[in-house]
Assembly symmetry: C2
């Protein structure tokens, strides 16, 4: 987990150059940035993705794909993208003939991820699919199979795998600093009022709170435990209010890992929480806020963990770009990880019905 | 829950007297203190129970029952108890003829609670039994049945029901301040090294971490939810180390309450934690430390909760004394509550075997 990427290693070597050692990087051709097309121009795309390309070393926005022509024009203009590189959901297949586009970042409502991912892969492009991967297990399986079939990268937008506090927590969990890990737990929820958008619509929003915000808890339990769960138990709230009649509100879940670590988590559209804890037999980690955009507060045995700041979005995008450039590199957050998480969500909900735990392997 | 006791109400009336209103209390006979016999003179009895009688209004230590004659003599001397009031585990039945003893506080290892409670009840005395009530469901049932049969009070030493921060949390949960409660959770554990005493022995220590420290989490989930769970799911660790071969180490549990509140908790002898959280749809409570002897830190919507200090042990003992004086009073922490908690523990462990949730009603 958290393997040093080639670029990170090169950055390390570059650092040595400052210390008077030869900079090996000088003998290499500077890599050509990977061209990204941004599909969907909602808040996350315009506020969190597009502005952060400025810190990328190997990734560049070269096209937009949008259902809103005016918005697309404005955004393209803002980022120096020519009008010829504006696509829409009808002519998306034309990107096949645009060699500048190497990867499509799908940032639309979850219920549309499958369609846009499949079409982008079919057009021969690599895909970064925002989380949650989809709201349907069969769709997730198809997406992974399609990427394999066309031999393209499929990454999921799990930015916490590139966020320095979370990376340090993963490192500490693996380092022995906590002794043997025993319990990991996480609460992730936010209070959602009446929603006129996609969140509370099954077809667009996916499973509901568990896939939109609970997935951070599921992700954290897995990357802290350092494994995939083999057994899942879940509960479901009985207090559903009208606005959540199509989607999940409160779910609790237990994940059992093959290394003996026990995880438990909770999620909701009815309360606010963003935290995790790791209990080892020789130490613990607390994180709150744990997985936000900024403001992370992490402790190791009650002492604040300090990490060097870094742009999690830029690192996420550059990592996929590097994997596109170097087929031998292992993608940290592949489609298979997204599929694993959808399998967990599916098992939580089936378990809540059957009142029994579900074996995943 | 947390009903005002008669004494607390009288104290309120006394307060009015200071403001110039008549003190109705003056027209009543001062109640004769209830005589307590302390059975077992370990650390909790000598450090937490005996010294706190000083703050009691209606409770007085009048006898000790101990297996250590020298220790008993020293303690009796310290608290002004005559040597004639020192009993041992062989002649315990003699307390039947000692009218000064009205209630026996059983503070021995959990595996002996059943025997001493049954013998004390048979001797016609009321009993306060320290938590955990016992390490065996059948024993717990017998203890409750016996108290009923001999028409004596049986209380469990659940001091948190008398601790001001926890009382305020219960009040807030009932008050609507948090909106509708949805999720309650609690982690309670401590790291236990090699133990040469009773903790890791099934016969003396009971179930293990879940009954010794996890019971605080179970208790908290119930008194915060304001209900008894109807469904229980549990997991059990697979990493058992040698020193816990007879007892439970890590357990996780989900409790489903009939009012729709979902609870989850964890406990261990392999990590330290003392906390709970309440998530309502309009607010939350955090507590950490939550259930210690001192140092409670509670927040309501991130603002610290301030409460007037009070002696939780003195209040706990006086409450049982009041219930002994007034047969119409409802005991806050009756044997039935202890039995409920043992039923929950039993269900957690059965569920961990069956991999299915267990219905409790």
């Amino acid at each position: 987990m958290a393997d040093l990427s080639r670029r990170e290693m090169m950055a390390g070597v570059g650092g040595l150059a400052l210390a008077g050692l030869p900079n090996l990087n000088l003998f290499q051709e500077p890599a050509k940035p990977v061209g990204w097309a941004i599909l969907g121009l909602g808040g996350y795309a315009t506020r969190n993705i597009l502005p952060n390309f400025k810190d990328c070393k190997l990734s560049k926005p070269v096209a937009v794909i949008s259902g809103s022509p005016d918005k697309a024009k404005g955004i393209a203009n803002e980022y120096g993208i020519p009008e010829s590189k504006i696509y829409n959901y009808q002519n998306l297949e034309k990107i096949k003939d645009d060699p500048d586009i190497e990867v499509v970042y799908v940032i639309t409502p979850p219920g549309t991820h499958h369609e846009f991912t499949m079409r982008s892969l079919a057009a021969g492009k690599h895909v970064c699919c925002e989380k949650p991967m989809t709201g349907d297990l069969k769709e997730a399986e198809e997406m992974v199979a399609m990427a394999k079939k066309v031999n393209r990268r499929l990454g999921i937008g799990y930015r916490c795998h590139f966020e320095p506090h979370n990376l340090e927590a993963m490192r500490l969990c693996r380092s022995g600093a906590l002794g043997t890990l025993r319990t990991v737990r996480s609460d992730h929820g936010f209070t959602m009022g009446w929603d006129n958008g996609w969140h509370s619509k099954r077809k667009l929003g996916g499973y509901g709170a568990i896939s939109e915000i609970g997935i951070y808890a599921i992700q954290a339990l897995c990357y802290l435990a350092g494994a995939d769960p083999v057994e899942v138990y879940g509960t479901r709230d009985k207090l559903k209010v009208d606005r959540f009649k199509e989607v999940e509100d409160v779910n609790h879940f237990n994940l059992i890992f093959p290394n003996g670590v026990q995880g438990f988590g909770a999620t909701a559209y009815s309360w606010n929480a963003n935290n995790f804890r790791v209990y080892g037999d020789r130490g613990n980690i607390t994180a709150e806020p744990a997985t936000g955009y900024t403001g992370h507060v992490f402790t190791l045995n009650n002492k604040k963990i300090e990490v060097a700041p870094a742009n999690q979005w830029a690192l996420q995008m550059d990592h996929l770009s590097e994997c596109i450039r170097d087929p031998k590199m292992t993608l940290r957050t592949p489609g298979e990880m997204g599929l694993r998480d959808i399998r967990i969500i599916d098992a939580v909900l089936r378990s809540a019905e059957s009142k029994s735990s579900i074996r995943l392997v």
